[in-house]
Amino acid sequence: MAIVFDGTRESYVEGLSEFLNSGQKDAPEWVTTLRREAISGFAKLGFPTLSDEEWRFTNLEALRRGSFSIAENGISGVSKKSVDSYGFSGLDCLRLVFVNGRFASSLSDTKDAGEGILVKSLSEAISEQSDLVKGHLARYADYEKDAFISLNTSYFEDGVFVYVPDGTVLEKPVHVLHVSTDEDRPLFINPRNLIVIGQSSVAKVIEHYVSASQSVYFSNVVTEVVCGENANLEHYRLEFESQKAFNFSTLRVNQQKNSNIASHSILCGGAIVRNNVHPVLAGEGCNSDIYGLFISEGRQHMDNFMRVEHASPHCDSRQFYNGVLDGRSKGVFHGRILVHEGAEKTDAKQTNRNLLLSDTAQIDTKPQLEIYNDDVKCTHGATIGQMDEEALFYLRSRGISMRQAKIIMLRAFTGETLEHMSIDPVREVLEGVVMKWFEKRLQNGKGR
C-alpha cells in the first residue's frame, strides 16, 4: 500500500510510522530518532498560512488540498539518453542522478572525485560514513521552526552527499540531477543534500531539478552546506520542475571564518515555488554572493525568500535578484538581512529588479533589515518596471527590429545575474533556455 497524504497535518504526522516500517527498516537508529523529532516539529507547526508574516504573499491552499504519496516504484522510465539531454555540453563533471528522489546509480558517474573526496548518495553515506553524516545532517536546517524542513527531515529518502576534506580542491563540478517522472498519482518527493567543504577547500555543486512530465507533484528540497574556514563553494540551484509542480527548497549555509560562497538560484518551472536561501555568516571575514533569476508565465507563483544572517564581524554579503514576469504570474522577493549584535563592520547589499511583461503580472518585493549593531553598512534597493521604451526606440532607430531590440534588452537584464556564474557551459545553457523562453513570449505577440 502506498503511503498517502491527504493534505491534512495529521496525515503527514501519522504517515511517518508506516514510512519507517516500509523503506527505512535498516536505517541507523539516530536517523529514525531524527525523523521522529522532525515530525513532531511539523505536528506543532503545520503548513504556514497567509497570516504568517513570512508567507504573506504565498497561498498554500492548493498544497493543503492536494493528495500526495511516496513513490513506490524504483527508478523507471528514465534512460541514459534522456539524462544526457539535461547535461551541459562541454562540461567535464561528476554526475549523480535521482529519479523521484531515489538514487539511480546506473545513470550516475562519480568516479575520479579525487583523493579523500566523497561524492555519493546520502543514503549510502548514512550507512557507510554514519558518524561523518551524523555530525552535520539536520544540524543547520531547523526542523523545529520551518514546516517544510520538518517534513523533509522526516521523509527524505536520498540526495547528494559531498565531502571535501581540508586543503583539497574538487576539480570537477558535481552535477546533481533530480528527475521527476509521470506516475499514477501525485508524488511527495523530499530530496536531501548535504555538502561539507573542509578548511581551505574548493567545490562547485549544481543542483538541477527537472521533470520528464508535466504532472503534479510536491517536491520539497533541503540542502545543508558547511563551508569550512577559508573554503570556497559555488552553488547552483536550477529549478525547471513541471509547470504543475509544487516546489519548496531551502538552501541553508553555514559559513566559517573567511569562507566564500556564491549561490545562483534560477527559477523557471513549477506552479507554486518557494526558494529559501539562508546563509549564516558565522565566522569573521566571510563573503556571500547570492544571485537569483526567476522567470514566470501563466499563473506561476515564485516566492524568493532570502535570509542573510550576519553573525560575525567583517563579513560582506551581496544579494542580486532579477525577475521577469509575464502572463498572470506572481513573484515575491523577500529579502531579509539580519545583523547580529556582535557583527560590526558588516557590509550588506541587496538589489532586486523586476521586469513586468504584461499588465496582469504582479510582484511583491519586500526588503527587511534587522540590525543590532551600529557600525554596519546595509543598503537595499528594488525596482519594478516595464521594458525601457526609450532604450527600445534608441535600438530601433539604429535599424534593429522591435523583436530583436526586446531580445537584446531582456538578455541584458537576465545577463546581470547570469554573468556571475563561473561555469561557462552552465551559463551558456541557461542563456539558451532564457532566450527560448523570450522568443516564445515574443512570438505570442506579447511582451512589451
Binding site: 525601457d388 526609450e390 532604450a391 526606440f393 534608441y394 535600438l395 530601433r396 532607430s397 539604429r398 535599424g399 534593429i400 527590429s401 522591435m402 530583436q404 531590440a405 537584446i408 534588452m409 538578455r411 541584458a412 537584464f413 545577463g415 546581470e416
Partner: protein, 244 residues
C-alpha cells in the same frame, strides 16, 4: 531626398509642429536653429519615428517613400540616422554588440551578407582612430557612465559605421568643449559627399564655424520662419531670436 510638407505634430494633445516645411536635396547640409521649445528636437524625433509624437497633418517623403509609413527600424535601414540629443544609456548591452547588430540589420535589409566579427572589428578600429575614441569604449555598455562628450562622440561613431544617407544631428554640439567639437565636426565633414545629406540642429552658431551649412533655417513656434545661406547664422548670433 527629403521633403517635409506642412507637418503638424502633437504630443499629449499639445501641438508642437505647426506646419513645418523643409526640402533637403542630396549632398546638402541644412542647419535648423531656433530657441528652446521651438520644436527642433520634435522634428528630429518624428523623422526617426518616435511613436509618442502624433502626426496630425502633412507629409514626409524620403527618397520617394512615405516616411511616416515606416517603422523606426525601417527608416534606419532606408538610410536615416538620428544623433540623439540625449543618447540613451543601456546597461548590459555592449556598444560593439549594438553596432554590429545594427550594421548587420541594415545589411540584411539590403540583402547583403552580415559582417563577420573580425571584419567588423577592423571597420570599427578604423573609424575609432579618426574620432580619437578609446578602444575600451567599444566594450563598455552603450552610453552607460559615459561623459557628455563621450556620448556625443559615440553618436558620431555610430553614424560613421552605419553610413546613413540622411543624418540628423540633434544638438550634437551642446556640452562639448572646443576639442570635442572639432572632432565631432571632422567626423561629419569627412562624410560629406554628393549623395549624403545632413540636418544639423543647433542652438548656437559656434558649430557652424566647423560644419559649414549650405542653408540655415530659423525655427520659431513650430515652423520655419526664415531661411537663408550660412550668413543667416551670423545675423542670428548678433541679433538673437527676438526679432523673429
Amino acid at each position: 531626398m527629403l521633403e517635409v510638407k506642412n507637418l503638424h505634430v502633437q504630443v499629449d494633445d499639445k501641438e508642437i509642429l505647426k506646419g513645418m516645411n523643409i526640402t533637403v536635396a542630396p549632398g546638402e547640409v541644412h542647419s535648423i536653429m531656433g530657441p528652446n521649445g521651438s520644436g527642433k528636437s520634435t522634428l528630429a524625433q518624428v523623422l526617426a519615428g518616435k511613436e509618442a509624437y502624433e502626426v496630425t497633418e502633412g507629409e514626409v517623403t524620403f527618397q520617394g517613400k512615405d516616411l511616416l509609413d515606416l517603422e523606426p527600424e525601417e527608416r534606419a535601414c532606408e538610410g536615416i540616422f538620428l544623433a540623439f540629443q540625449y543618447p540613451v544609456e543601456i546597461p548590459g548591452v555592449a556598444n560593439t554588440y549594438l553596432l554590429r547588430e545594427a550594421l548587420n540589420a541594415k545589411r540584411e535589409y539590403w540583402d547583403e551578407k552580415p559582417l563577420k566579427h573580425i571584419e567588423f572589428a577592423k571597420l570599427a578600429r578604423e573609424k575609432m582612430k579618426t574620432l580619437g575614441i578609446d578602444e575600451d569604449l567599444l566594450k563598455r555598455s552603450v552610453n552607460a557612465g559615459f561623459s557628455g562628450g563621450e556620448k556625443k562622440r559615440n553618436e558620431i561613431f555610430q553614424m560613421q559605421i552605419l553610413e546613413p544617407t540622411l543624418a540628423v544631428l540633434d544638438e550634437t554640439d551642446s556640452g562639448l568643449d572646443i576639442d570635442a567639437l572639432k572632432i565631432v565636426a571632422n567626423g561629419v565633414n569627412s562624410m560629406r559627399d554628393s549623395g549624403r545629406s545632413f540636418i544639423v540642429i543647433t542652438h548656437y552658431q559656434r558649430l557652424l564655424n566647423y560644419i559649414v551649412p549650405d542653408f540655415v533655417h530659423v525655427m520659431v513656434d513650430g515652423k520655419i520662419v526664415r531661411s537663408g545661406g550660412k550668413e543667416l547664422a551670423y545675423e542670428l548670433e548678433e541679433k538673437g531670436y527676438a526679432g523673429f
